[in-house]
Symmetry: D2
């Protein structure tokens, strides 16, 4: 939130620290999965961990969409709002497709 | 790959190196997303990268399911096959839910 | 479409006819799948048709989200906008979960 | 199960009646959504019903995958099993993509 005059504020600014913490945790989870593969662990157990990563990544995505809707779109000038909505919908569509 | 005589072989054993390479790349992608957040990049651009991570993670998951079906299930004794199928379906169900 | 003075206009109002046509087509697709089951058709062929239904249903869902973002949220008074965003996010979250 | 001598048995044969009942229910749900659109109901309420349809369709899909794994693949001759697995993986991949 406390963006300086030169830093643009985004929807996620208020939660930037929490967001970075989550991304670090996901990075660690992915490293853990690589370790399981390296140790020849059972594939179904690896799939369970992959499911956990997917859920965590999706939570991050939903948080960013939420911030975009509440902040970027709310802050948009009337003339820009439609473009922001188009961007949002493209992002939501991609999330559903790749989900 | 080089499973020793005491290490069980799994469906992904033949592709272990490729799988590890992919997981390393995903780890790097997640780190890149954290960097984007840190640099206050635009949330929709971050969402695009998150979509790429989700697609990559899903590809790994599908590869593991494929290996489970072709190898673990094929190698299972008739009496174990039903348990392997139950495990598989639980994993596929989780993938769809968290997807 | 031609919302009377007593009927609230929604995001999908302009496309109501197209939306109804799509839903009718989906209904027909589901009926076709039931017929395939009744005729003992091969399960993988049925799954292919189910995939087509899921894609069609998702397209309808994305259209409704789009309308909500562009119309309901834009038409909301500043004090209501946050509630509309919360409703939207709950809906998007459910789409991703059930997807 | 009660497939006649000329009708091939599929993975879903034992549950054919239950499967048809579910598909009929989904057809009714889709018709209900069309009615909501016709009555100009609130788009977020319609999205909630769409989420219910998606969950129901996915349950049908998982049931068919389960039947394919347990019956079609188990009944496949060794030489055919790989083809059956390839078909299964294509179907699971499509489910995830359209999910």
């Amino acid at each position: 939130m406390a963006a300086t005059s030169t830093t643009p504020t985004h929807g996620y600014s208020a939660d930037k620290d929490a967001l970075l913490k989550r991304l670090n945790r996901i990075e660690g989870q992915v490293r853990g999965i690589a370790r399981m593969v390296d140790e020849n662990r059972y594939c179904v157990d690896i799939l369970t961990q992959i499911g956990a990563v997917q859920a965590a990544v999706e939570k991050v995505a939903l948080g960013l969409v939420d911030g975009h809707v509440r902040h970027c779109m709310a802050a948009a000038k009337p003339g820009e709002r439609d473009d922001k909505a188009t961007e949002l919908m493209a992002a939501v569509g991609r999330l559903l497709k790749t989900a």
